[in-house]
Symmetry: C2
């Protein structure tokens, strides 16, 4: 069963690093570093290199067979042509799973295909050993905010454990971009699978594993091809039925993009009409770039964590202190087919008391609170609290978009927003601006408390649209 | 002439602040603070309030007529109903320009329209005094990185002088968002005009002023209505002919958005077909949200500052260390109708030497340099330098998009990119990722040297498209 094989690959008790290096900046050294610094037990890491040596306190073995302990997983960092022989040795040693990072297979043409044939034969079609890759940065399992299993050839840090699973045909997503998303945007992952050319284990195997694992609540995919489109479709439908959303960035959709994938993961051209129809049926939510993929994913991840009620009628409210932002937000809300409904009568009556006579509130759910703040002699937080409390009680309103201007002299009270969010469990998305140094703590605080933040008004609106029952919300 | 009046409004030798306050967090106090802290001479600021008092070392005058000095500009921070009387006093005093921040005119209906009629009469249709606003945050002139003329009721800081002029019907753009753009994204402005309801001076007057001022190279507009569409069209054509690009975010384009503008700036519904046709003819570059407006503007501002040659045939190269990024970039390049042309033969011959035999370069201008970096034993900066130098010599290539992964262990050499940019003067746009703390200095350094940076691959591609001769580049 692939699921059990994948479990072992993510949770090895011992690893052999084939192609280990004693030179600090080389990949074969950094894999050791990445394992060690993220809490893998040093006595369960077995570096292998015929040249021998010591690195980071670990003594090298001259060959796989010389390792005097059982090995669960091999992380293989040797050139493509050496792979068949290494795999033979792994099988000999009884190793059940291998992560092959080398490139130079399907994507380089004939020589690469020959290598693939050899591997198929040696592994008896992967019945003797399971393979992640080749042409990948392997697997990551985040166990705590500081530990886990990290097999990539780049030192990973700055992450926190969350509920996101990633399946990627780009190694970057288990490398530099993982660090970027963690440290710059505070994304919290559970698993990453960099599947490369997916010679054996495919996106479907990992998706199935994520669907069965209760610690994964949401899946983000970057794919350049579908190994078995029908199985993908079936799994996505299953994901939908158990409430685990699947987000997809599809690479190689343009003529030239297809050419690019051929030299990247060796993906072959697919029937794009068929694929489009498939995606439409599958309930996956498409993204057009990496930022969007992970912005959607993070937002949804936080909403799931908060146990918010998902919107159904696309009815939201927008609260702002800027009339211009109100106008643009309204245009964008129309663009993404969301609604600013008429306020219920009781809601309107309560709002009227907060607004000054010279500028009563709108009858619909666009709430520019500036006049109310003037009436409250500048006490904006009091007005925010009243208006948010009233609007979230309106039974038509399914979620709130809010503009948050934070500056030292007039600090925005994040506590009140968090308190009201926890009371009503309707999704709240915040657009934050102000001096760079004053907004960073607000962004962090809100995200830590399941309120997704945005620095782009349009992205906030688009993200809200992406959690509504699926209508045509993505920009064309 | 409006142009001369506007010059005086931006460059007053003395200002009266009508409605000054001694209470630190009130607007009438903060205007004084904003003037003083940004270098306006204290002895040329005359606060007026019948209650008298002292604030920030400035003694208040009981009335305008009691100011014993000539006054160029009045900054008026009193409620709407007091405006007519204050204007009478300003005219009496011989003040030639007034910035009226109060709301409560056209946008509140009948009472507001009555006020407007009074003002028209008192000012004899603005022949006796020129007015910015009402319902605005006034004007900003950035003189140095620390000084200028700042009339908004929010303390402004963290800015630097640049070549961007802004015309806005949202006060936010001369308030909190100005600070956000300056401190978070490093935008460098020259002038901001928050024109509010534009009862007298309109977007056209300011646009004309910016076209005549040699220190302005580019104009960004946020408009909820056009005061005189034909004049706007003529000015934009003129702007185009002298090479000053005009960017436009139009608010109130949806049915509900129009409703929002009515209660914001009192803008009336316009014939949207006519307006769309007008924009099409005018060479203005449209944006769909505030971030995009200022991202386009900053990028173009840097390209102008660098004296880069503008692209004509939409031919670019993309350099990356990630195959996945290469694939997605290629799809996006197709989406925005840019081209990755075939390399010239001489270019290809030079590239071949840099790439390993097992993975030769593409014949077109998508350059995944990872195999070349492996051949160069990890010396990525050497490869970057060679590849960029070769590709920028290719006569077909009009600009470069590059992915920059920066991390302490493998620092990206910004100097080499800056050097090559200065040698060839083709626009270079960079997509930067890596650990948050490691990318901030790279972003700053590149922007300081006229290389626009992006954290979203799609935005980089879209921004490049926005500087190409106008074809259909904006996302629909």
């Amino acid at each position: 069963m692939s699921t059990e094989d994948i479990y072992l690959l993510y949770n090895p008790q011992s690893v052999a690093v084939i192609g280990a290096s004693t030179t600090p900046l080389k990949g074969g050294y950094r894999i050791l570093e990445n394992l060690l610094e993220n809490g893998f037990p040093p006595d369960k890491i077995y570096p292998v290199n015929p040249k021998m040596g010591t690195a980071l306190g670990l003594e090298f073995y001259p060959s796989i067979e010389k390792i005097p302990h059982p090995v669960d997983t091999a992380i293989i960092f040797v050139p493509n042509t050496a792979i068949p022989e290494v795999l033979e040795q792994c099988i000999e040693k009884g190793i059940r799973g291998a992560i092959i990072q080398a490139a130079g297979f399907e994507e380089i043409g004939f020589n690469g295909l020959e290598l693939k044939q050899k591997i198929l034969k040696i592994t008896n079609n992967f019945t003797k050993i399971r393979i992640v890759g080749p042409n990948c940065t392997g697997l990551t399992r985040v166990e705590t905010d500081k530990t886990g299993f990290f097999s990539a050839f780049i030192r990973q840090f700055g992450y926190r454990r969350g509920n996101i699973g990633v399946i990627s045909q780009s190694g970057m997503l288990n490398g530099g971009y993982f660090i970027y998303l963690s440290t710059r945007h505070g994304l919290k992952f559970r698993y990453i699978a960099s599947i490369g050319n997916k010679m054996d284990l495919t996106e479907n195997d990992f998706l199935e594993f994520f669907l069965r694992d209760p610690t994964v609540a949401i899946v983000a995919c970057y794919l350049e091809s579908f190994s078995d489109p029908r199985r993908f479709l079936a799994l996505c439908k299953q994901a939908n039925s158990i409430g685990k959303p699947v987000y997809l960035l599809r690479g190689g959709i343009s003529r030239l993009g297809k050419k690019a994938t051929r030299s990247h993961t060796g993906a072959l051209a697919e029937n794009s009409h068929l694929i489009r129809a498939l995606i439409k049926q599958s309930h996956v939510i498409p993204a057009t770039n990496f930022n969007q993929l992970f912005q959607f994913t993070q937002m949804r991840s936080l909403i799931i964590e908060a146990e918010d009620i998902l919107p159904y009628n696309r009815n939201i409210a927008f609260i702002t202190v800027s009339g211009g932002a109100g106008t643009i937000a309204t245009d964008l809300i129309a663009k993404y087919q969301l609604n600013l409904p008429e306020l219920e009568n009781s809601t309107y009556q309560k709002m009227i008391d907060i607004y000054p006579d010279w500028m009563p509130p709108n009858h619909f759910s666009l709430l520019d609170i500036w006049p109310a703040v003037e009436k409250a002699k500048g006490n904006s937080n009091k007005v925010y609290e009243q208006v948010i409390d009233i609007i979230l009680q309106d039974s038509k309103i399914e979620g709130l978009l809010i503009s948050v201007f934070n500056i030292k002299e007039f600090p925005f009270n994040t506590r009140l927003l968090i308190k009201l969010h926890n009371r009503y469990h309707k999704p709240i998305l915040a657009w934050v601006f102000g001096p760079a140094s004053d907004i960073s703590p607000v962004i962090q605080d809100l995200k830590d408390n399941c309120i997704p933040t945005f620095e782009n008004l349009e992205e906030m609106v688009q993200n809200f649209a992406s959690i509504c029952t699926q209508k045509n919300f993505i920009q064309k």
